[in-house]
Symmetry: C2
Subunit: 305 residues, 2 copies
DNA sequence: CATATGCATAGGCATCACCTATGGATCAGA
DNA sequence: TCTGATCCATAGGTGATGCCTATGCATATG
């Protein structure tokens, strides 16, 4: 079986035309190098050196073999360097899970942060929705993620809360923003809600359902849309009201629904943003980097949990 | 320490996304592959797979590492193939020692034989004179050679006689070719001899000196030249006579000295052509090939020893 | 001819690669 | 929800391998 070590010994011996000299260079005893060369010759089936009393002389087979051996070692070096540069974020890909509305909390800025600090890296922010991200985490396709969690209990996962994002009521009707919105008023409102595909598993929905359920009420949503922007725009046109994360309201209302405003719920309810990864896993430097940066950004917008 | 074996295991595991499957493909037990991967990760300092309950999932580091690993193994394959093709004479260099006048015995045809049978090989016929060739053999720069030897004794060398090349007297004067030339007549003749640089070690000279010495005579050479062709031309012009190998006479006289002819010496003396290599050495296939072909060619011209 | 140099061999020790057996975690199906 | 199957990790044992020191043999050098 060919080995890199044999190639190293071969090249040293070839260059020095001496096993003893090669052994010195490599820091081994002479018989060790001798053995490596012998094994290499055996596995190749061709003598590489003629033992001529004092010193060794490469055969033409060795002449032919040498550039190939050098290429192999160079490739091996390359491979190691590639990984080393990953460790120091000089290159490689950083894949991090984030829920869909993460971009509203500065997802683009987060990516920019990473790219600026580490010009060589690729960044992937994956996961349209917390639900998908959780699935990816469970399957091991993702190492870590920042997602919204309704409850803190998640099977086999380590969940580290980062921030509490309050859910607020948004409306284009100033009348409805004069006082905090109770469960009863919420149940009576005409609501547009995003994440229609994930209506059953969306953490904001779960929190709201829980709130209404405690008041003995059933939620009924008038309009279901897929993305938050659309929901906010509909609110801006006065076609419906909605409930969304305060961070989202702050980010989107001025742009998409200038006439609309927001008011807290009563009682106040919160969505929890958390770092999630498999319980017991040792996080890679890349993951830790993303967690640190993402946490900073989030907490700059909404208060820590 | 990085090893090719680790890379093989890594690639198998990467492709199958399973250590068990990789082990099956490679014909090992599962823990063996597991250990190789673990060692590879340790030596790289980066985890390559996330162990996720059932199965393993490559990290982005593994994604980056994979093409490099493939390149290393491909280069290693190349290296081995290169040597294999040397063994079967598909490529590589065949270096063989031959004395200077070998070309007169079909040296060019010998090279042509090799090139025709093995289109990929390079051929080197080295050694201007037997003396140089012997030195190269002694130093290990040559594996084997066909040379002219005066005596059969050569320190530490295995000498296999191939052919006996008779030394003959050549002259442009028909009178001097009527009868075999004795030592006495030889001592009286005006002679031109080649190989002036090697006059002391040239085997033909040695044989002649021996012959004259036994007759109580001293050799005196009128003209010294370096190459055989010049000597033969001078004979052709009648300026001197010479002694040369019968094979040379047959090859060169018609071309360079049409009016000259040759006659045996009395007693007859012979130069010996022999295969020479270091005693106890195992000859490579390339060397054996050259020996076989060279022997055929020589024996087609002059009788076997 | 004596000495120095360089490779091969022998013998011993530590490490490594591989094996089997087993335990823990997860996934699929009853 | 429980059970069996699957898959990885760990443990412990065995043989091979790598490396060492000591030594012998051949060759080059003064």
């Amino acid at each position: 079986m060919l080995s890199l070590h044999q190639l190293t010994c071969f090249l040293a011996a070839y260059e020095h035309r001496s096993l003893t000299r090669a052994a010195e260079e490599l820091g081994y005893a002479q018989p060790s190098v001798s053995e490596q060369i012998r094994n290499l010759e055996k596995s190749l089936g061709v003598p590489l050196f003629r033992r001529v009393g004092r010193g060794v002389v490469p055969t033409t087979a060795a002449d032919t073999f040498r550039p190939h051996a050098e290429k192999v070692l160079a490739a091996a070096d390359d491979a190691q360097r590639a990984v080393t540069s990953i460790k120091s974020f000089e290159t490689g890909t950083i894949r991090f899970g984030m829920f869909g509305v993460a971009r509203l909390y500065g997802g683009a800025g987060l990516v920019a942060d990473v790219l600026e600090r580490y010009p060589g890296v690729r960044v992937e922010l994956v996961g349209r929705h917390s639900r998908d991200v959780q699935e990816d985490l469970r399957r091991g396709r993702l190492e870590a993620a920042m997602i919204a969690v309704a409850g803190l209990a998640s099977e086999g996962m380590a969940v580290t809360p980062i921030a509490r994002d309050e859910l607020v009521y948004i409306s284009a009707d100033p009348e409805r923003l004069k006082a905090p919105v109770t469960a009863k008023r919420l149940a009576d409102a005409t609501l547009v809600m995003p994440e229609s595909t994930y209506r059953d598993v969306d953490s904001a929905r779960i929190v709201l359902r829980r709130m209404l359920h405690e008041a003995g009420l059933n939620p009924k949503t008038r309009i279901e849309v897929e993305d938050v922007e659309t929901a906010v725009e509909l609110v801006g046109r006065g076609l419906a009201d909605s409930v969304t994360q305060k961070g989202v309201a702050v980010q989107l209302l001025p742009r998409l629904a200038p006439k609309a405003g927001w008011v807290p719920l009563r009682p106040r309810v919160y969505d929890t943003l958390a770092i999630v990864h498999r319980a017991g896993a040792t996080l890679s430097p890349a993951a830790r980097l993303m967690i640190e940066l993402a946490t900073q950004r989030i907490q700059a917008i909404i208060p820590p949990a």
